[in-house]
């Protein structure tokens, strides 16, 4: 079943240097319980895509298109309406876990707050979140003490139990003691696991992970990715992984969407993508990572570099770097065509 249906999403940023076309008519569908990876190089619009879904784009933007989540257009909700979805329905984790945590509160305080918000929301149903937040902080009529943070004594024992349960789920050793720590006392891997625990404690239907392991060491990265893959089954959530690393995607994802310079390039089941990459950019990207040693190697880089987003080529955006480009690519924009196995690609080599 389709959980998220993005169609013709276009995002432009107004900057001092001109209009930046961060996303151009991108359409994609995410099914329930799917592990989808969005892969692309810096500036391809993958983070903009994640931020659009959760409604955190900066003010200086122009947006067109629609984002349907469970049949409801998120773009029409506005900031207040979006609060009912953000966190509880759609959660997001970011690249730098230590900048996502508040440095002046203990881990336990921050995790308790997230859990309390979820509980009160459940109690009040889907009412406006402003009301929920007021309840968290000045509650009299609900069975929860005010400002329960700051000090372990004041946290309800079952909230604490739940916190310990989430931290154990993300494999934090000695969770009770970690709850008392400040973020600066954590390693990067631990902080990222706490962010995952905090996001999952909301029991979101969709988890957007924006480069969750890029700032981590490889051994820690392996642990975090393995954890995400395992948790997906355990808490039945859908994961949208945003990454620049095709190798990471190949390790965990079911399906991959490749983006280039704000455009959709290719969408395929993961094995299909590696055995039969269709878009010349995907082929080039694979040639850039499937290398061996300098003596026995076939490392063939894509020449040139990503275009300036303020001044894009008129036709296919990959055309200036493409080995197969012909006249039509220079002037016309290709549209996605779907081949067998739901494998779709935006390239004139395959029609349209």
């Amino acid at each position: 079943m389709t959980l998220l249906d993005i169609s013709n999403l276009t995002v432009q940023y107004l900057t001092g240097g001109g209009l930046v076309n961060a996303l151009d008519s991108v359409s994609l569908k995410v099914s329930e319980n799917e592990f989808l990876a969005v892969v692309g190089e810096s500036g391809c619009g993958k983070t903009t895509l994640g931020l659009s879904v959760i409604g955190l784009l900066p003010e200086s933007r122009r947006v067109r298109g629609s984002i349907n989540y469970k049949g409801k257009d998120l773009m029409k909700l506005g900031q207040r309406g979006m609060r009912d979805y953000r966190g509880t329905e759609i959660a997001m984790i970011f690249q730098e876990p230590l900048t996502s945590l508040n440095p002046v509160y203990r881990v336990g305080d921050q995790l308790a707050e997230a859990i309390m918000v979820r509980r009160i929301r459940k109690e009040l149903g889907d009412k406006a979140t402003g009301e929920v937040m007021n309840k968290v902080y000045n509650t009299k009529d609900i069975n929860i003490p005010p400002r329960l943070m700051r000090g372990k004594q004041r946290v309800l024992s079952d909230v604490k139990e739940e916190m310990v349960r989430w931290l154990s789920l993300v494999r934090i050793p000695d969770p009770e003691q970690v709850l008392e720590r400040y973020p600066f006392e954590l390693s990067g891997g631990m902080a990222q696991r706490i962010m995952i625990a905090m996001a999952l404690s909301q029991e979101p239907a969709l988890l957007i992970a924006d480069e969750p392991t890029t700032a981590l060491d490889v051994t820690t990265q392996a642990q975090v990715l393995k954890l995400m893959r395992e948790l997906m089954a355990k808490v039945s959530t859908t994961i949208l992984l945003i990454t620049h690393d095709l190798a990471v995607a190949s390790q965990v994802a079911d399906r991959v969407i490749v983006m280039y310079a704000g455009e959709f390039a290719e969408d395929s089941e993961i094995h299909d993508l590696f055995s039969r990459p269709m878009h010349p950019y995907t082929q080039g990207l694979l040639n850039c990572i499937l290398f061996d040693t300098k003596d026995g190697s076939s490392l063939s880089p894509i020449h040139g570099s990503v275009p300036d987003m303020r001044n894009l080529p008129p036709g296919c955006r990959f055309a200036p770097r493409c080995l197969h480009a012909f006249d039509r690519c220079q002037s016309n924009r290709p549209l996605p065509v779907t081949k067998e196995n739901h494998h779709s690609v935006s390239c004139f080599l395959y029609g349209k």
Partner: protein, 332 residues
């Protein structure tokens, strides 16, 4: 391994940083040390590459800074081009003519207010004493050497892309025609397609100028591509050292094995990291575990690992491993 064509050779090199007493010389706090580099012996042959692989905090960048004399070593010896250079009596200009460094982030290693050509030219005047005409000519040659159009010499760093900036940093490093380049994570800040361009450029330059490289990286695939020899560092020590293919295909130290298994391979049929079993994280260098520093994370650890620090020993031809249980790891 005394050999005539060794370009660089370190013997038991150490770098400790003092911590814990702040600036107060009368502090009663105990003097403690971060043992960032704790007895590293490496050698690089002319025209070859040694890859130093390890995770953050293992001391690989400190090792590079110590070798380039940007910080002075606490102990041990550094021999470069047949001379000992760590005793403070050498003229650094002589060294930097033959030893240059390329850093990870070109945004912070290139002066944002200087044109690319001036960034490259500055050291040619100071280090080599070139005249204006010679500087101009060498800047042009260096830029062409790294595949950049020469009119980019008049641009500022912010007018270039990430890959171009890193090319400019490499152009600056090769401009005095050095013998050794220290590459500290040269491609980590770059996108995959640009990383491939820089890697092929580095191989071409090595062949063309018979350069020697010391490559510092956390990326096993990059180390495998560029290096002839790999040294794996963990918590300030080299734990495995040998020919690239031997280390990658037949790793013998449990840490190297875990590192290779944790590195994602671009292959959806072989999901290695979902099978990775490594637990825990890199220990603090202030208070490292006693004995073998990997013992709290090691699946093979026994009591002896907690008390005795294993030494690097040759397990097969020029393949050195520091582990008490190399027999056990060979079986896997």
């Amino acid at each position: 391994m005394a050999n005539e064509n060794l370009i660089l050779n370190t013997v038991n090199l150490k770098k400790y940083f003092k911590i814990g007493r702040g600036m107060n010389p009368f502090s009663h706090k105990e003097q403690r040390y971060v043992r960032a580099v704790d007895g590293v012996s490496l050698s690089i042959q002319e025209g070859k590459t040694v890859g130093v692989v390890g995770e953050s905090g293992c001391g690989k960048t400190t090792l590079a800074k110590t070798i380039t004399l940007l910080i002075s070593p606490t102990g041990g010896e550094i021999h470069f081009d047949g001379k000992r250079i760590d005793d403070g009596r050498v003229n650094r200009r002589d060294i930097y003519r033959n030893m240059q460094m390329v850093f990870q982030d070109p945004d912070s290693s290139l002066d944002p207010q200087m044109k690319i050509g001036d960034s490259i030219g500055e050291q040619l005047r100071g280090l080599m004493g070139y005249s204006d005409a010679e500087v101009k000519k060498t800047v042009r040659e260096s830029l062409e050497g790294v595949g950049m159009p020469r009119d980019l010499a008049d641009r500022l760093p912010r007018q270039l892309s990430g890959g171009q900036k890193q090319r400019a940093a490499i152009a600056r490093a090769i401009s005095p025609h050095p013998k050794l380049l220290i590459l500290d994570e040269p491609t980590s800040a770059l996108d995959a397609s640009v990383q491939a361009q820089i890697l092929t450029l580095l191989v071409d330059l090595q062949k063309k100028f018979n350069l020697s490289y010391m490559l510092i990286t956390h990326n096993i695939a990059v180390a495998k591509y560029l290096s002839d020899t790999i040294a794996v560092m963990y918590s300030g020590n080299v734990v495995e050292y040998g020919p690239t293919l031997a280390v990658i295909n037949r790793p013998r130290h449990p840490y190297t094995m875990a590192l290779i298994r944790s590195a994602p391979v671009p292959d959806p049929w072989k999901r290695n990291i979902l099978q990775a079993e490594i637990k825990g994280e890199v220990p603090s260098a202030i208070n490292p575990p006693s004995g073998c520093r990997f013992n709290p994370r090691c699946p093979y650890a026994e009591d002896v690992c907690k008390t005795e620090k294993p030494q690097l020993e040759e397990t097969s031809l020029s393949h050195l491993v520091a582990c008490h249980f190399v027999e056990k790891t060979a079986a896997t």
